[in-house]
């Protein structure tokens, strides 16, 4: 790695103040700290030793945890595509995966280029180091945006979210709302026609020339939750995009229409295991989201009503369908926007679970409630913490009075 170090040292002067490329100093510093652990040592006072962990390592661990869901999502894009054109039986898994990979790559590139570009500019304006927060957000966005969303929409929404949900608050670690979910919310409310319905979730046309074919007659691109929302009668008949009946196993494995990252509950649970074993995500939040969702789903399932068709779903199916699991594992556990006290984490997580199912069941306009539930609880997280901390304060005051 000596030659990289030499090269970096050689080009360094150009990026210093007065150099030709001084406007890109943050970019250079970002690259340098990415390649080499900073040689900065502790000051004369304070802790002289530091733990090996930093935010880069933390963020990269989250990305690793996202990979199973990402790969399953890619495969599923291909699977849904070939199902839609009636060639699922004669296409290999690899072809499906490659198709999904090619279909998703442009979205991933757009998300990172737009988001990181804004981060670089913001870092340069404030003369700060480039921060790692967007590494994860940039991958979350392609995973929660429907695959057929036009790239320019994704770009606009990403730019809006990064600027107005993050940078105006001070950048990584300072945002109130989850940036990836704000991106999706902007798309959802700004371009509703592209974000739901038959055309949003299944890529029916070819991707860079791969997977040509005409869509079968029985095709219907609605997600299972989309079908639930329009369900008539007191029984549910959920089917895949080619009209075949779906089972709970399909929901769990992820062979259903939906946003790329959210379909496979199995892959999400592998990611959850990585997050919990490494201790990156709070088990308190994650478990309480599932607990809250399960409790609310059981409650609505106990009194099923054809008016609210989602109440006909079994509680476990509720957790496997839509974005619930993905939201519980990767969105609710965002430490920056969630509650930070232990008790607060239980309340925060539980209410996210409850609200998600509540919105799903009783609001016909929104077949999926996870996004709205988390954004709502993001807003309440500081209040929850405030209440929990006030108990500590009261205890301290009571102690002083006693003395």
């Amino acid at each position: 790695m000596k030659f990289i170090r030499k090269y970096m040292d050689k080009i360094k002067p150009a990026f210093r103040p007065g150099g030709k490329l001084e406007k890109l100093q943050s970019v250079y510093d970002g690259m340098e700290t990415f390649l080499f652990t900073p040689n900065d040592t502790a000051g004369p006072r304070g802790a002289h030793v530091h733990d090996g962990n930093d935010l880069k390592r933390t963020m990269i661990t989250v990305i690793v945890a996202l990979l199973p869901a990402l790969f399953m999502g890619m495969y599923n894009i291909g699977y849904q595509h070939y199902l839609a054109i009636g060639q699922a039986a004669q296409t290999s898994c690899w072809t499906m995966f490659i198709f999904g990979l090619i279909a998703m790559l442009p979205v991933i590139v757009v998300s990172y280029v737009v988001g990181l570009g804004i981060e670089f500019i913001a870092a340069q304006i404030h003369h700060k180091e480039i921060q790692e927060g967007f590494l994860v957000t940039g991958l979350l966005i392609p995973m929660i945006v429907p695959i057929n969303t036009p790239l320019w929409m994704t770009a606009v929404a990403t730019a809006f979210a990064v600027i107005f949900a993050k940078e105006v608050f001070g950048g990584t670690g300072m945002n109130i709302f989850n940036v990836a979910l704000i991106t999706r919310a902007v798309l959802f409310f700004g371009y509703p026609s592209k974000m739901s319905g038959d055309d949003a979730f299944v890529k029916t046309d070819s991707a860079f020339g791969i997977g040509d074919g005409t869509v079968v007659d029985t095709f219907s691109g609605a997600t299972p939750l989309g079908q639930v929302a329009t369900n008539v009668g007191d029984s549910l008949n959920l089917h895949d995009i080619a009209g075949n009946a779906l089972s709970s196993c399909d929901y769990f494995m992820g062979f259903i229409a939906g946003s790329p990252g959210e379909t496979s509950t199995l892959a999400i649970l592998i990611g959850a295991a990585i997050l919990l074993i490494t201790g990156v995500a709070s088990w308190r939040v994650m478990c309480s989201v599932f607990a809250g969702g399960l409790a609310m789903a059981a409650l609505v399932h106990a009194c099923p009503s054809p008016t609210y068709a989602a109440s006909l779903l079994s509680p476990v199916d509720q957790l496997c369908l839509g974005g619930f699991a993905f939201a519980a594992v990767f969105m609710a556990t965002d430490p920056v926007t969630g509650a930070r006290t232990h008790v607060g984490q239980y309340i925060y997580g539980f209410l996210i679970g409850v609200m998600t199912i509540l919105i799903r069941t009783f609001n016909g306009g929104y077949p999926e409630g996870a996004m709205l539930a988390i954004l709502l609880m993001n807003a309440f997280a500081p209040l929850i913490d405030h209440c929990v901390v006030s108990f500590n304060i009261k205890r301290r005051l009571a102690r002083a009075k006693q003395a």
Binding site: M1, I4, R5, T33, F34, L35, F36, T37, P38, N39, D40, T41, A42, G43, P44, R45, G46, A47, H48, V49, H50, D51, G52, N53, D54, L55, K56, R57, T58, I60, T61, Q131, E132, G133, G170, G171, T172, G173, M174, I277, T278, G279, V280, S282, P335, V336, R340, T341, H342, Q345, D385, V389, N392, I393, R395, R396, L397, R399, A400, A403
Partner: protein, 444 residues
């Protein structure tokens, strides 16, 4: 006598720990002795001697500008060689050249009130008070006095029992101290210690570092409330008080542990307060990397150079490497089980490295960030305090919130372990120290 179990915290183990039963060796006499006013937080020095004056052991060197009765004394006989000053004429060190004969010392009339004795002898500045973690204000009466009998910080060495003379001295000191407080004298010991001093309430603290910190012990015995004052001192200071009361003279001898990954042979060294670092270290350093010398422990000590001096509390000289791995390539992506972390994000967790002695260097290993990860501070602070909320209140200089969240209970050293563990690499101890000093300025 209570046993208090603490779960939070972490016992950081470094290579170069002194093994049990090591006998101390006597250091060569130091060619100069230095007293550093920065060691005594809260004191503004006003010199009582000039360069060229000759002093004897126990003679006053300087006093506090705000409380003239608080004095700092010379640990040796000799002549004042230099009063080293920095920016805005701040006194950095008072340097004394020791005389060849160390046979003269100030004797004290032990029948005088104990408070006067402590102030006059310079023992007073070795104590601290909560709130603010500064040298105690002589005008305030402490609610209680807490003696910490062990240091739980990395590489620290603790005595496990007393000699007969020490027992007598400790009992005399406790008896004298208990007249200064309206409450009790508490002594916090570790399970390894066989210490019992009549007149004091003994509590045993079981658990990892920072169980030995005064702040942690107070918080788990009888927390400090707003408006209350509590004094804290170490066992060494208690024994010095005892020695003064039983022998009429100050005891300026210290036993320093010279330890750490970069020390060739970890050893205990007998010397005096203010001895120069090179006289204590005597070249006992491994080669291979640039060493960092730390007077005190690696979590809250002060970086010193070879020509520097031992710093309060004069018990430990830690030597670690400045940088073991310059230009480490993509360290954040390391899969090596050798990269030390207390978290489970590195493979060193699987290799069980967390509980083995390690060779940490002084690199910060990451850039400063906003607080992102959960519970990092709380897990390292066994007190009923929301550390992260308190830190934020301090940064915001919000007095009301600081008070509500327990600013009066903490000292910078209580956040030392959190600073080590912090993924966001914030200088927590500096934040707390600046906040305490600022608050003290606002309140007094």
């Amino acid at each position: 006598m209570a046993i208090i179990k603490l779960k939070k915290g972490f016992d950081l183990r470094l290579e170069g720990q002194i093994s049990d039963g090591t006998e101390p060796v006597v250091a060569a006499p130091s060619s100069t002795i230095g007293i550093v006013p920065d060691d005594f937080e809260g004191i503004v020095p006003r010199m009582d001697v000039r360069v060229g004056d000759s002093v004897i052991a126990g003679q006053v060197l300087y006093h506090d500008k705000n409380h003239e009765t608080i004095k700092v004394t010379s640990p040796v006989c000799g002549t004042i060689k230099e009063v080293r000053r920095g920016e805005r004429r701040k006194i950095l060190a008072v340097v004394i050249e020791p005389a060849n004969k160390q046979d003269d010392a100030v004797t004290y009339d032990v029948k005088r009130p104990i408070k006067e004795l402590l102030l006059e002898s310079g023992l007073w500045v070795m104590m601290r008070q909560r709130p603010y973690d500064v040298v105690p204000n002589p005008e305030a009466t402490p609610r209680d006095i807490f003696v910490t009998a062990f240091d739980s910080a990395p590489l620290a060495v603790n005595r496990t029992s007393f000699s007969a003379g020490e027992q007598q001295a400790a009992e005399a000191a406790v008896k004298a101290l208990s007249t200064l407080t309206t409450g009790k004298v508490y002594i916090g010991i570790s399970p390894a210690q066989d210490i019992n001093i009549s007149g004091a309430e003994i509590n045993t603290f079981v658990g990892p570092h920072p169980a030995g910190n005064a702040g942690v012990q107070i918080a788990n015995v009888k927390p400090v409330n707003k408006g209350e004052t509590v004094w804290t001192l170490s066992l060494d200071t208690l024994l010095r008080i005892g020695a003064l009361l039983t022998t009429d003279r100050m005891d300026y001898n210290v036993t320093v542990a010279v330890a750490g990954p970069m020390v060739a042979e970890p050893m205990l060294v007998k010397s005096v307060i203010g001895a120069s670092i090179d006289s204590v270290l005597a070249g006992n350093i491994k080669g291979g990397a640039e060493p960092r010398l730390i007077a005190g422990n690696v979590l809250s000590g002060v970086k010193v150079e070879l020509d520097g001096y031992l710093r309060a509390p004069y018990t430990l000289l830690s030597v670690i490497a400045e940088n073991n791995d310059p230009d480490e390539f993509m360290g954040w992506a390391a899969l090596s089980p050798k990269r030390f972390s207390i978290y489970r994000l590195f493979t060193s967790w699987l290799a069980g490295l967390r509980s083995k002695p390690t060779n940490l260097d002084a690199r910060i290993k990451g850039g400063e960030r906003a607080i992102v990860r959960l519970d990092e501070y709380d897990d390292m602070l066994p007190m009923d305090i929301y550390a992260e909320f308190l830190i934020k209140a301090i940064i915001a200089r919000n007095i009301e919130k600081m008070e509500e969240l327990g600013i009066y209970e903490v000292a910078p050293e209580d956040f030392a372990l959190a600073e080590f563990a912090d993924t966001s690499k914030l200088e927590l101890q500096r934040i707390v120290r600046d906040g305490l000093n600022w608050l003290r300025g606002e309140m007094e």
